[in-house]
Symmetry: C2
Amino acid sequence: MNIGQASDASGVSAKMIRYYEEIGLIRPASRSGNNYRVYDEEQVHVLRFVRRARSLGFSLEETETLLKLWQDKSRTSAAVKEVATGHIADLERRIAEMQGMVKTLKHLAHCCGGDHRPDCPILDDLAGEKPLHDQHHHHEGELR
Amino acid sequence: MNIGQASDASGVSAKMIRYYEEIGLIRPASRSGNNYRVYDEEQVHVLRFVRRARSLGFSLEETETLLKLWQDKSRTSAAVKEVATGHIADLERRIAEMQGMVKTLKHLAHCCGGDHRPDCPILDDLAGEKPLHDQHHHHEGELR
DNA sequence: GTAAGGCTTCCCATCATGGGAAGGTCAAGG
DNA sequence: CCTTGACCTTCCCATGATGGGAAGCCTTAC
């Protein structure tokens, strides 16, 4: 199986397969006579593992850790769980950060007329002016 | 005011001030005889605007748009609001994506013993095996 | 005079991915 | 046999926003 077929079978682009090999995430593929990379089902399985880990937001470094644990038959599920819970915490931190932004932005947008006039509490906030005392133009709740 | 003072006054690192100038986000600072960049209160105000926009997650491109709207006295608040709502939608999309990851990961972690044994539904999922039928080890709800 | 600290530019690294060029290889079909 | 097209190879560059650090200039204080 060449890299194109491995890519189709795994859902990982050929570009990324080469990159993962380069950074040592996956073992270098063996080469056929024409210097083409050759893959078997097992390698494709590894690639799918990587793709799934990436789709759950694990970094390549975390993915490498998980990959090693997967291949280590004497691993403990505690070790795996620790990686996962660490990642969950990271995601939740980032989610909370973005939710804070959304909350502020929705409040500002809610207070913004959104009309032809130039007055805009959003710009006022960015400019550090007029702390905004909820004197909004709308009365239909757009928040929540 | 030199770049260091402007940095302290605005909360934007000197490195970033130079970068923002380089990419055209802010106007090139005038230079004093020794070729040092010189800033006044107005420039610092602009830098604070940028910092605030960044802290709300606006990209530098969006920040540039907002900066131009801020300086354009004939802007409409509708134009500003559109940028903000677009950004809110983007944030919410990313939040939803990450929440999906968290949901899956919490489920998997919940079903993982987290003990000395190697069996691990997290790895099984990543490997694309055993679709997981909620046969978890825990009974205290960790989800939600 | 020299040391410290601030300024300048320039290059490199991050993280994960894609784009594209230049060139080798292979299979099918004229 | 030769061309065409679809692969493959490596190498370089770009993204977005930021930081690190080197080499060298300027100023101020001791």
